[in-house]
């Protein structure tokens, strides 16, 4: 694999911390999948971060690994530091501008996937009409291509953002092969990953939601 010399690589501990910052409370499996690292490596990083008081693990149905307040503050500081060190502020800001143009359309598509308006009535899409679903997925694929173009500079400059390309492409491919939950419903759905990319761009640029 060729990698541009300028691409910035994020250290594993910051990657584990920042992944939690962008995806929220999650199981080890989900953190590893989002970060693109092996589970044992992520677990080791999370344990170290836990010792430092930056992350915590909560038991129970809605539990998992999550950031503490101190972890959130540390992430903000370190991720801004990374942006300045790597000199990538401009490229992230450009990607964010492109993202904001596409975001309303992506949300329209998610709404169209979940609901249909017939005779003026909005009802849940029961996915009984494959022609309609295929139209939504075709437009989603089109948007996905435009998103790749909009974020090309970002993917070239920062390795950690390339993970989104992989995960978005994976969600789209699964949805097109019939796994319907991968559009909006699964925690690895196109919308879930897109939502995390949105959060990452905001967090990286230090913009409050």
């Amino acid at each position: 694999m060729t990698r541009p010399a300028s691409a910035h690589a994020t250290s594993a501990d910051l990657l584990a911390l920042h992944t939690l910052r962008c995806i929220g409370f999650a199981s080890l499996e989900r953190v590893a999948a989002a970060a693109g690292l092996p589970e044992p490596e992520v677990e080791s990083e999370l344990i170290d971060l836990g010792v430092a008081g930056l992350v915590t693990r909560i038991a129970g149905e809605f539990g998992g690994w999550g950031l503490t307040e101190a972890g959130r503050a540390a992430d903000a500081q370190r991720i801004t530091g990374e942006l300045e060190t790597a000199g990538t502020r401009t490229v992230v800001a450009e990607a964010y501008d492109g993202f904001l143009v596409l975001n309303p359309e992506l949300l329209d598509l998610c709404g169209a996937w979940q609901t249909r308006t017939v005779d003026g009535v909005v009802t849940a899409n029961d996915h009984a009409d494959p022609t309609y679903d295929a139209r939504v997925l075709d437009r989603l694929a089109d948007l996905d291509r435009r998103a790749e173009v909009a974020c090309a500079g970002l993917f070239a400059a920062m390795l950690r953002f390339r993970r989104y390309r992989v995960r978005l492409g994976d969600a789209l491919a699964r949805a097109r092969s019939g796994a319907l939950a991968y559009v909006t419903d699964s925690t690895a759905s196109y919308h879930a990953v897109w939502f995390q990319l949105h959060e990452d761009l905001l967090a990286t640029l230090g913009i409050p939601r």
Partner: protein, 506 residues
């Protein structure tokens, strides 16, 4: 003229030429209602623009002539230093669609015209505010970032081109693709003399339904913003007041609205929706369309209109789609005293949830161990999702039916109310208007109508609604089928089948 049509009572072109908005405005003028004077650039001009990549030959001359006529009608000068004429520029295909440029207000407020408007009104702040809004909205609409000319005709050409170009934005293309709308229709552009809702204390803007869109009850319903322009109402960013505040503050405007909605209902024989502005106490209508009520409200309006003798029972039956009755088993909050309504937003996922307010995701998780929780957030981020998973329902101050919060709530099947204007979330409390709710207080949310209600209101499905019972009795009379065990949609569908057969037999 061939590209441009006057906005007059005699305008007879169909909606696919004029666009839905202008077509409705011409109908209002025929009813003798006050509509700001103006003209419409028809959809043919848009199609030509999209083919050629520029305004078609002859359009500029027609624009100049139409503006000259508007100047004569209003006795003002477009962009002029004294008695300046400013206009609104609105898109309007036969259907409106996301991604298209919607509205540019206050166009023509050049430097000179702004000074003229300030001198004329004695309100330099109003004039300056109007110009700033104009510049911001035109700059947002013209993506190439070029300078905005300081001549009014130049501004108008720029705005018209921006509206035409917005037909082909990817978002609008996606919408047409999904809704099966042909890509070659194009949009019309409506240009009207401005009326200023932000002019003074006796000015404002609002939206009104002739009947309550949530229940169908025959009571005018809507929102008004005093001292502001119309886009503030629709954008939901500002705190609006209930429509009937007008009765006390601007009785003439209120009376005018009631009369207008009466005339429109009488003409359309249906509930209607209106957008309006009032300037210095004078009412102007900016848009009218049918109410398009759904579910229980559609049933109630049809039954009431039949009782009022406006339509027959057969037509009442045909007015309600069996689709609407698929919603009647969804629980709704009913019989709520207006004083108990904490706030209203947009229903994003239907159903009712009742629980204790939690204002952070972490506390929602903790509190959910002891019973149902309603998560109340300014907006949602992925950091809130464990709280949403633990909660029975969610309320967000920002966002619309197409927002991350709405998508996630629907994915989880949780009742959701989003876009609650004026809702602020502090640590351990939430504030809506003058009321503050502490964390732990019980609220109910209705993800169909968008209500957030204090306490534990009555929750019913529309299946118990007396209007629905009567409509279904009429349906059974028509179909002659009194067998039990059929659901509501099937009973209405059977009546439709008989009525449609009857209609096709001469």
């Amino acid at each position: 003229m061939s590209w441009i049509h006057p906005l007059s009572p005699e305008t007879a072109e169909p909606a696919d030429v004029l666009g839905g908005k202008a077509h409705g405005l011409a109908a209002l003028r025929r009813l003798g209602l006050s509509v700001p004077p103006g003209f419409v650039i028809g959809t043919e001009a848009c199609r030509a623009f999209l083919r050629q990549g520029r305004l078609p030959d002859g359009l500029e001359d027609e624009l100049a002539a139409a503006v000259a006529e508007l100047e004569a009608t209003t006795r003002r000068t477009f962009g002029g230093p004294e008695w300046p004429l400013a206009v609104s520029v609105r898109s309007g295909g036969s259907v409106s669609m996301p991604g298209m440029m919607a509205t540019i207000l206050n166009l023509g407020l050049t430097v000179e015209a702004t000074a003229g408007l300030a001198a004329e009104t004695g309100e330099p702040r109003f004039a300056g505010d109007s110009r700033r809004r104009f510049l911001a909205s035109l700059a947002a609409a013209t993506t190439d970032g070029g300078p905005i000319p300081d001549d009014a005709m130049g501004q108008l050409r720029l705005a018209v081109a921006a509206v035409f170009r917005s037909w082909d934005t990817p978002r609008a293309t996606t919408y047409r693709e999904l809704q099966g709308i042909p890509h070659d229709l194009g949009t019309a552009v409506t240009v009207q003399a401005m009326v200023f809702g932000n002019r003074d204390d006796h000015s404002g803007a609002g939206v009104a339904f002739s009947r309550n869109p949530s229940t169908g009850a025959r009571v005018p319903f809507g929102e008004v913003l005093f001292g502001r322009q119309g886009d503030d109402v629709v954008s939901g960013g500002s705190l609006t007041r209930p429509l009937d505040d007008l009765a006390d503050r601007e009785p003439a405007v209120w009376a005018g609205l009631l009369e207008a909605s009466r005339r429109i209902e009488e003409h359309d024989r249906d509930a209607c929706y209106l957008e309006f502005t009032f300037e210095a106490g004078e009412l102007w209508l900016l848009q009218a369309r049918p109410g398009r009520f759904v579910g229980a409200a559609a049933v109630r309006v049809a039954v009431d209109l039949a009782d009022e003798g406006v339509i027959g029972r057969d037509e009442a039956l045909l007015r309600v789609s069996p689709r609407h009755l698929e919603l009647v088993r969804i629980p709704r909050v009913v019989g709520v005293d207006e004083a108990d309504v904490l706030a209203r937003g947009l229903g994003a996922c239907p159903g009712v949830a009742v629980g204790r307010v939690a204002t952070t995701a972490d506390r929602a998780v903790r509190m959910a161990a002891d019973g149902p929780v309603i998560l109340v957030r300014p907006a949602t981020s992925p950091l809130d999702l464990h709280g949403l998973a633990a909660a029975a329902g969610v309320v967000t101050a920002r966002g619309g039916p197409a927002s991350h919060a709405a998508v996630v709530a629907r994915a989880m099947g949780k009742p959701a109310v989003v876009g609650v204007a004026g809702l602020t979330v502090a640590d351990a409390s939430a504030r809506a208007g003058a009321r503050t709710v502490q964390e732990g207080a019980t609220v109910a949310i209705d993800g169909t109508g968008g209500e957030v209600v204090m306490g534990t209101p009555r929750v019913e499905t529309t299946a118990a609604d007396p209007h629905l019972r009567r409509l279904l009795e009429w349906a059974d009379e028509v179909s002659g089928d009194n067998s039990t065990g059929r659901d509501e949609a099937a009973r209405l569908g059977a009546a439709h089948a008989v009525l449609r057969r009857g209609a096709s037999i001469p």
